[in-house]
């Protein structure tokens, strides 16, 4: 039994325990306990991982364990992690931990809610601990399906429409992904060799270039839908706007990262030649996404829409960084996954908390809330500053690494793309400050808001955890960029760079 299996087992045991809970008190405490355990486990995993690396083991993946699944097809449940997946596992446990506390007062159908939420999380954890493409796909689907229920049942506004749209678009993505994965599977070995879904084994064989070229768009677009690739991002604003708080947090915070992780781990890693051939096209889309998302956010009136468009912009920056094919930019892109994950979870948590009090998300119906709820307001401002890339917070480091890496391409095409992408730091400042200025500052607009209360202890815990990590990463970025993920970039870089 591998240590990594715990990351799926603990959530499943938590789910079973919730089945027997009698009231909401028990439910949420079981959930909180389970997810706290998960958070501790991730901390242990980080330490274990660093010890393994410190011991001088330089394998691409460590803690590898092969569990047979469908022997006839050679589909296995192969577990294994590297620095990148370890840090994304840590991200997931931070977000789900904060998410549980953010949904502390979920009264209706609480058992079912927490069960779906944790099943979703276990799918994400499963995705990150395996290195077998088929197993990854199964876990991915496991994460997407509870999403439909969570939005459809506990959502707000046009929730059925949004749930359907989100699920269908993601399923369309899945369809593309499975085609891509099967394509890789059938070309994973030379004629007559044993076909495999194992990431490591596939990477040892060079898939023919024409096959790569054919499969790359399927995988990039398939995962790209999840990673909000322009113009396939439209599920995101509606989906987030309708989803309950914790689901938005988990979805924008972690699930969207599954997309960019897939792009990196599968599309770029296994199909490096095609990545080079077609990179420019997707780079254009990513650049458009960065600017378009940010400009789109300026005129929004609903807090969740603002954050959704902002996510489109920030997630496009991840793809932008990945497509630069060099160490700084990819390092930055992966840090951006973590950074944006925590940041956007923070925003959705805060928006949920504010909505719970004011019963509106329309910024023009609010005003001066900083005076009424100084803690939540200040947290929102700090989150906003982090989001616009203020030094001292994680986003700044990620952006700098990406821009720096991008700038090392001296040709005009890349330079223009970089300048456009960098201009988003100004546009981001515009929409963040606009929102903050309208609904947090200024005089109090609605007299009913005068008597609202500030954060409760569970809200402080949820928001505090997220803020802590944004700041820690921002202050000591080298721990993530070098110690944790630094070594793990080499295999992918080697494959991507060898084509130059």
């Amino acid at each position: 039994m591998s240590f990594l299996m715990l990351f799926v087992l603990v959530p499943l045991l938590t789910v079973i325990a919730i089945l027997f809970s009698k009231n909401i008190r028990q439910t949420r405490w079981i959930a909180a306990l389970g997810m706290s355990l998960q958070l501790i486990l991730s901390a242990v995993l980080v330490v274990m991982y660093l010890q393994i690396r410190a011991a001088g083991i330089a394998d691409d993946f460590v803690m590898v364990k092969n569990l047979s699944w469908f022997p006839s097809l050679n589909f296995n449940l192969t577990l294994g992690v590297d620095g990148i997946s370890v840090s994304l596992i840590a991200l997931t446990s931070i977000v789900i931990f904060a998410g549980v506390f953010a949904s502390w007062q979920m009264e209706s159908l609480h058992r079912e809610f927490f069960i779906s939420l944790i099943v979703l999380a276990s799918g994400v954890f499963g995705f990150f601990i395996t290195i077998d493409l088929f197993a990854m796909f199964v876990f991915y689907e496991l994460a997407v399906i509870p999403m439909y229920l969570l939005i459809g049942i506990w959502g707000t506004g046009p929730k059925e429409y949004s749930a359907m749209k989100l699920t269908l678009m993601l399923m369309a993505g899945s369809a593309l992904i499975i085609v891509g994965l099967l394509g890789i599977y059938f070309h994973s070995a030379p004629e007559g060799g044993q076909l495999t879904m194992n990431l490591l084994e596939i990477s040892r064989y060079k898939i023919p270039e024409n096959v790569q070229n054919f499969l790359f768009p399927f995988l990039f677009v398939g995962f790209g839908i999840l990673g909000a690739l322009f113009p396939l991002h439209t599920w995101s604003p509606d989906g987030h706007a309708s989803a309950p708080t914790a689901v938005s947090m988990l979805h924008a915070g972690v699930l969207m990262k599954l997309g960019s992780y897939g792009v990196f781990r599968i599309a770029l890693f296994l199909l490096p030649q095609a990545a080079h051939n077609q990179g420019a096209l997707f780079l254009i889309l990513a650049t458009i996404g960065i600017v378009y998302g940010a400009l789109g956010a300026i005129m929004q009136k609903d807090l969740k829409y603002i954050n959704a468009y902002s996510s489109v912009s920030h997630c496009a920056l991840i793809l932008f960084g990945l497509l630069m094919f060099n160490r700084s930019a990819i390092d930055g892109a992966i840090l951006q996954m973590i950074s944006h994950g925590i940041m956007t979870a923070l925003f959705f948590a805060l928006i949920g908390m504010i909505y719970g009090r004011t019963h509106t998300r329309m910024i023009h119906e609010m005003g001066g809330l900083l005076k009424v709820m100084p803690l939540l307001g200040a947290a929102y401002i700090i989150g906003g500053l982090a989001s616009l890339g203020l030094p001292g917070f994680s986003g700044f480091v990620a952006e700098m690494l990406v821009f720096f890496g991008a700038f090392s391409h001296a040709d005009t095409f890349h330079r223009i793309a970089t300048v456009l992408a960098a201009s988003s730091i100004v546009i981001t400042a515009v929409y963040i400050l606009r929102v903050v200025g309208i609904f947090l500052m200024g005089p109090i607009k609605d007299e009913h808001h005068r008597h609202l209360t500030d954060a409760t202890w569970w809200e402080k815990l949820s928001v505090g955890t997220l803020l802590l990590f944004i700041t820690l990463i921002g202050m000591f970025p080298s721990f993530v960029t070098e110690t944790l993920i630094g070594n793990s970039l080499a295999p992918a870089l080697e494959r991507l760079m060898s084509n130059f």
Partner: protein, 641 residues
């Protein structure tokens, strides 16, 4: 090991203060906060003075050149193969000088604020932000590399944002803070691109290696960029745009007058003495690069500085808001410093402009901080910002009046006071090679004397207004900083500045240039005399003049409508024609496409769902017909082959 290892404490101590106060936000009583914050910045001040004493006096120049010493540093982030961002302290002439400026003014402002903010509910918040600002600004000035400057550049920007918007319930303060942040952020984008470009070509961020002329040969700087600019010229111009944003150079000056929405001590500290001169400091930091690698970029600095100086001075003559007059005066004076850098050469006597610029930065910090603190005292006493509602205050506020007069004389270039000496050096430097800049600066000297004395006479002389409460001098906490700064405004001119700060590290022996001094003194006397004539007593002459110069006056009064141009561009073009259409496009076209796909699927299935009716006859019919069709096809196929 080196003698300056302790210098990291200078910025670190206020950071500690910030954290202590912000985490005990509700618990700390006002007195504790005030004592804590003031003593912490006091320690930083003492350490800065000690550093200066150790660096300039004890150690002195080594083989005739002041060395650049890395106090301490560590790698913060690895950016690429060869490049890392370090955090540390760089001890050299310019940084030690700036340490003195920042810590002195910050200490004065801390003391002053104890009195000024006494009754404010946000007392603790205010001091926390002041500490945050001091930390960021001190870290900025002793940065070892351009990336560290950029990091703290952003942090001073956000401190400024927080302090301008300190009264966050006031819509005008919110708007001003937003404007300040966004305009400077816009400029920072260029700064960032400049850093990227220069580090791409030189493979270093470090000031010591970046600005060492001996290294210039090794840098790979060949090739031209667009507009035919050389790479260093483009990079340095981009960096200058960043500096111009922070230092409110035309056309990025629009945020500074609005920033006066912040409390007066903030205006004195951030928007007069320290943060706004960061742009000048940045150009000075990289002066060797400007002067040797890209003289054309340096010339641009000079012309932008001189133009801004004139432009702002003209506007300042028409404003009626006390603090806005001072704000435009600040813009004008920073333009002076920029112009001085622009006309300077590198090394020895040619570097006079550089030294003069730093000198003026130093003296200006003292008298301009004093002017703002004096303005704060007056506004505190009469509860209005409009100088039309003031007058005759000399009788009520004696100490404030005397200190304000000293500062006014200093900025006007009255012989014997600090501003006189530093301005003299600047004008001399311009006289050597840039006649256009020289005459511009001379005119500005006259305008400065005029608008400052206009302000002085309107506030302290002229007709006395009826005051609801009898105005009086503020309490000790506010008076002491005024007196100290007044003394500094007089004596700082007598520092042999060139001995300490010079472009190439070699002490520069300077002296007063009498020919120039006489001309500039005459010019400022003319300015003072006109102001005396027009404003000492109230007269009809001013309104006649205004009527005579109607159009020009209106344009100047409305700041030449630059704000309106920006508003038009952002609101009517970017928001209305880019952002809103994108939001619409996204909802209706991109998303619409998705919905249409969904609609087609639904409609198709709706149309074909009749086929699954459950009626056996229908199925049998379909089955038989299909068999017939397929058989027919097969038969046809077999016959033909």
């Amino acid at each position: 090991m080196n003698a300056f290892e302790y210098t990291f404490l200078i910025p670190f101590i206020p950071l500690l203060g910030f954290l202590l106060i912000i985490f005990n936000f509700k618990r700390f009583p006002k007195k504790l906060t005030a004592a804590l914050a003031t003593s912490l910045i006091g320690i930083s001040f003492v350490l800065s003075v000690y550093t200066a004493w150790q660096y300039f006096i004890i150690m002195g120049p080594l083989h005739g050149v002041y060395p650049k010493i890395i106090g301490n540093h560590f790698e913060w982030l690895k950016l690429g193969e060869h490049l890392s961002v370090h955090m540390g302290t760089l001890i050299d002439q310019a940084s030690v000088m700036m340490l003195i400026v920042v810590s002195t003014v910050s200490l004065m402002v801390h003391i002053y604020s104890i009195g000024y903010m006494h009754d404010d509910r946000g007392f603790n918040r205010f001091f926390a932000f002041l500490q945050l600002f001091s930390f960021s600004m001190l870290s900025l000035v002793i940065a070892t590399n351009v990336f560290q400057i950029y990091i703290f550049w952003e942090l001073v920007g956000v401190s400024s944002f927080l302090l301008i918007g300190f009264y966050y319930e006031k819509p005008s303060a919110v708007a001003a803070s937003k404007k300040a942040f966004i305009v400077t952020r816009f400029a920072d984008l260029f700064f960032l691109l400049g850093i990227l470009l220069i580090s791409f070509h030189t493979d270093t961020f470090d000031f010591i290696s970046l600005t060492n002329p001996e290294n210039f040969e090794r840098f790979n700087l060949h090739g031209t960029t667009f507009l035919g600019l050389s790479i260093p010229a483009l990079a340095l111009i981009l960096i200058f745009v960043g500096g111009a944003g922070k230092s409110a150079m035309f056309p990025l000056h629009i945020w500074l007058p609005d920033a006066m929405e912040g409390p007066s001590p903030v205006s004195a500290l951030i928007h007069a003495a320290t943060m706004v001169v960061a742009g000048v400091y940045l150009v000075a930091r990289m002066f060797a690069n400007y002067a040797i690698m890209a003289p054309e970029a340096l010339a641009l600095v000079g012309y932008v500085g001189a133009f801004t100086s004139l432009f702002a001075a003209v506007i300042a003559t028409t404003q009626i808001d006390f603090k806005r007059v001072l704000a435009f005066s600040t813009i004008s004076q920073i333009g002076y410093m920029m112009a001085a850098l622009g006309v300077s050469g590198y090394g020895e006597e040619a570097g006079l402009g550089y030294m003069a610029s730093m000198f003026h930065l130093f003296t200006h910090a003292m008298f301009k901080a004093l002017l703002f603190l004096g303005a704060g005292a007056v506004i505190h006493a009469v509860h209005t910002n409009s100088i039309r509602e003031m007058g005759g205050l000399r009788k009520y506020m004696k100490t404030t009046h005397i200190t304000f007069l000293i500062a006014t004389l200093a900025i006007a270039g009255f012989p014997g006071l600090s501003g006189f000496f530093s301005k003299d050096e600047i004008i001399t430097a311009a006289h050597q090679s840039y006649p256009l800049v020289f005459y511009t600066l001379l005119v500005v000297a006259g305008l400065t004397a005029f608008y400052m004395f206009r302000l002085y006479f309107l506030v302290f002389w002229n007709t006395e207004t009826h005051y609801h409460h009898k105005p009086h001098d503020p309490g000790k906490a506010m008076l002491i900083p005024l007196i100290i700064l007044a003394v500094l405004s007089i004596v700082s001119g007598y520092i042999p500045f060139g001995e300490f700060v010079s472009s190439d590290g070699k002490p520069l022996h300077t002296h007063l240039h009498f020919d120039i001094a006489i001309i500039s003194t005459l010019v400022s006397f003319v300015g003072i005399a006109i102001a005396w004539f027009l404003y000492k007593k109230s007269s009809d002459l001013t309104s006649h003049l205004i009527a005579r110069w109607g159009t020009f006056y209106r344009w100047a009064y409305n700041k030449f409508y630059i704000d309106e141009v920006y508003l038009f561009i952002t609101h009517n073009i970017i928001f209305a024609y880019i952002s809103r259409p994108i939001a619409w496009f996204d909802r209706h076209v991109v998303d619409g496409t998705m919905n249409v796909i969904g609609w087609i699927t639904v409609t198709t299935s709706e149309k074909i769902k009749g086929m699954q009716s459950g009626q056996l006859q229908q199925y049998a019919f379909a089955f038989v017909s299909a068999i017939l069709v397929i058989s027919a096809f097969l038969i046809y196929y077999l016959i033909n082959n």
